[in-house]
């Protein structure tokens, strides 16, 4: 950060303080300066355990962020491409009308859009804009991080062809399907944030003006590509806030709560499942690679708990559930966390009991 900033900041800060409704850039500068000062104090001048913890925290935070940002960016660009190149009519024609068929389509949609749990969020939001039914989007959101070629391949690389791979895909589809079915009971208005909803049909003319796919139909492909990138940039900036706050929380948990405490809690048929789910939630690692991590737990943990880790983790973790907040209303986000949690727990425990029996 530049040192000459305080001088530049001073006049703007004062205007912001004197007239509260004014441009917020004074506040922005003030906040940035404050954060800069705190970081510098901790990074350069603090010593002992506090400094150690701060460095561990920073490294883990940047690790999660550097790992996840490319996937979020890819998802955002896909979202931009959908906005510019996919007509809502095509989408409406392709999605089945019947509830069960629609939810199943959503759960399998990951094969068409190979995204992980970061990329899936902006894509889902964009598809909602284009009029995708709520239930299909929910099933897609929950299943796509597992049910896509890349993750299936990495799971195969870690566990080979066998019960773990098959179980992971089948149970992810099943849980997403059930959640999707339940959400046919809700309306988009009550579940989605206003910014994620399809544009109001009363303003149909305005909607057509808004729908870039229609508005720019005559535009050259070259121009539309840049346009897709611009839309993607907006999406990224919208979602990355949630990713950052989620990564901060995950890194904080890892710095403050010893992993050994979690793992030492027990290995009973039910408790082990709870622990591995908690671990998946806290670690917040990308679904494209979590199979390799699960492998390192495979010998010391029950099969049901490994399966719960592999099924629940991609659907819900600290950073993805925070990103849900950018698409859904708070209450819906709670359902989207609790529903997969209950179903994964049930699956894991039943699996352990069958194995013991």
């Amino acid at each position: 950060m530049k040192l000459e900033q305080p001088d530049q900041a001073q006049p703007e800060v004062q205007t912001a303080v004197s007239s509260p409704g004014a441009h917020p850039y004074g506040r922005l500068l003030l906040a940035l300066l404050l954060v800069t000062a705190v970081i510098l104090a901790l990074a350069r001048f603090a010593t002992g355990p506090l400094a150690d913890r701060f460095h561990t925290f920073t490294t883990i935070f940047l690790g999660i962020f550097i790992e996840a940002a490319p996937f979020l960016l890819a998802g955002s660009v896909v979202s931009g491409l959908i906005e510019v190149f996919v007509d809502r009519d095509i989408l409406a024609r392709l999605v089945p009308r019947r509830a069960a068929a629609a939810a199943l389509t959503g759960a399998l949609l990951g094969f068409a859009f190979p995204v992980c749990e970061c990329g899936v969020v902006p894509v889902t939001r964009r598809l909602y804009h284009k009029g995708l039914p709520l239930s299909v989007g929910v099933a897609f959101l929950l299943a796509a991080p597992v049910v896509n070629p890349i993750v299936i391949l990495s799971t195969y690389a870690a566990f080979g062809w066998g019960p773990v791979l098959i179980g992971r895909v089948v149970f992810s589809v099943l849980i997403a399907f059930i959640a999707g079915l339940l959400f046919t009971l809700a309306t988009p208005e009550e579940a989605l944030r206003p910014t994620s909803q399809e544009h109001d049909h009363a303003h149909h003319e305005e909607e057509e003006a808004c729908d870039l796919a229609l508005a720019e139909k005559k535009g050259k492909a070259y121009g539309r590509f840049w346009q897709a990138l611009a839309v993607g940039g907006d999406d990224f900036m919208d979602m990355v806030r949630y990713l950052i706050v989620g990564s901060l929380l995950a890194a904080g948990m890892q710095t403050l709560v010893p992993q050994s405490t979690l793992l030492a809690l027990g290995s009973g048929p039910a408790l082990s499942v709870v622990i591995m789910m908690a671990l998946a939630f806290v670690l917040s690692i990308c679904s494209t690679v979590d199979a390799f991590l699960a492998l390192s737990f495979a010998n010391s943990f029950t099969t049901g708990s490994i399966m719960a880790f592999l099924v629940f983790g991609p659907m819900v973790d600290i950073k993805s559930s925070l990103m849900f907040l950018g698409v859904f209303r708070k209450r819906t986000v709670l359902y989207l966390i609790l529903l997969p949690m209950a179903l994964s727990l049930l699956m894991g425990v039943v699996m352990n009991m069958l194995a013991a029996w």
């Binding site: 510098l40 355990p49 940047l62 490319p70």
Partner: protein, 246 residues
């Protein structure tokens, strides 16, 4: 203004990733196999920033189309949050995880049977390594496969790691440790060998060392396991690739 700031942040994110892959410090954060992805993302950020800049200028022209339905303006708080990774990335000198991070994790010391096992997919090729080329993880895997610590009696070893110790270590022992990483440092797990050396107490915690020595069966924390008797210990710089990959 908001658009300019967003363009700047997108561009700086790209620049940040370019810098970290450029000087190799990206390996302090993620597994080597994702470095290509980081390259692509760095380029992607610059492209998106360009698209954002070019197109947002055009979009602001028609005043009739002034409503912002989904291109939300970020508040000062939102922008501060978005700037956080950049600030932390640029203000805090890059540093790999060290001894301080072990306190929060389970250590794999090659105790037989009980440890959370690591099974590398290419176990066969690891077996073929010459003793001097085996890293800490290779040795632990070998211990685990063998089951009997006595098999390693007298075998020579040469490993690199950082110094770690806690209450369980006597004056003349420490652990030479590394972290294994499968995805990013969020899943880092420490592994280490117990080293015995008369002057162990002189080595500061977190110092990277090259240890040359040979194994003898000893007991640590009430367990029988191979302990590395050091013949020579050389302080060294952290390797460019500080973590071991599963």
């Amino acid at each position: 203004m908001n658009r300019l700031i967003k363009t700047l942040i997108l561009f700086l994110l790209g620049a940040f990733l370019f810098m970290r892959v450029g000087d190799g410090t990206v390996l302090y954060y993620i597994n080597q196999r994702f470095v290509l992805l980081t390259w692509l993302a760095a380029g992607g950020f610059v492209l998106v920033a360009a698209g954002y800049f070019l197109h947002s200028g055009r979009q602001e022209q028609p005043p009739t189309h002034a409503h912002n339905h989904d291109h939300g303006e970020l508040s000062w708080l939102g922008l501060t949050i978005v700037a956080l990774p950049l600030l932390l990335g640029w203000l805090v000198p890059p540093r790999p995880l060290g001894a301080a991070a072990i306190g929060n994790r389970e250590i794999n010391v090659g105790s037989l049977g009980t440890l959370s096992s690591v099974a590398p997919p290419d176990a066969g090729s690891v077996m073929g390594l010459v003793a001097g080329e085996k890293n800490i993880l290779d040795w632990l895997n070998a211990f685990q496969r063998q089951g009997d610590p006595a098999v390693f009696n007298g075998q020579a070893a040469h490993v690199i790691g950082f110094v770690y110790r806690d209450g369980r270590f006597a004056q003349d022992t420490f652990m030479v440790a590394r972290f294994t990483v499968s995805c990013c440092v969020a899943d880092a797990a420490p592994v280490g060998l117990i080293v015995q050396w008369p002057e162990a107490a002189n080595l500061p915690t977190d110092q990277w060392v090259e240890v040359t020595g040979h194994f003898v069966v000893g007991s640590f924390n009430g367990e029988q396991l191979p302990i590395l008797l050091a013949d020579e210990i050389t302080p060294t710089e952290p390797p460019a690739q500080p973590y071991l990959y599963l």
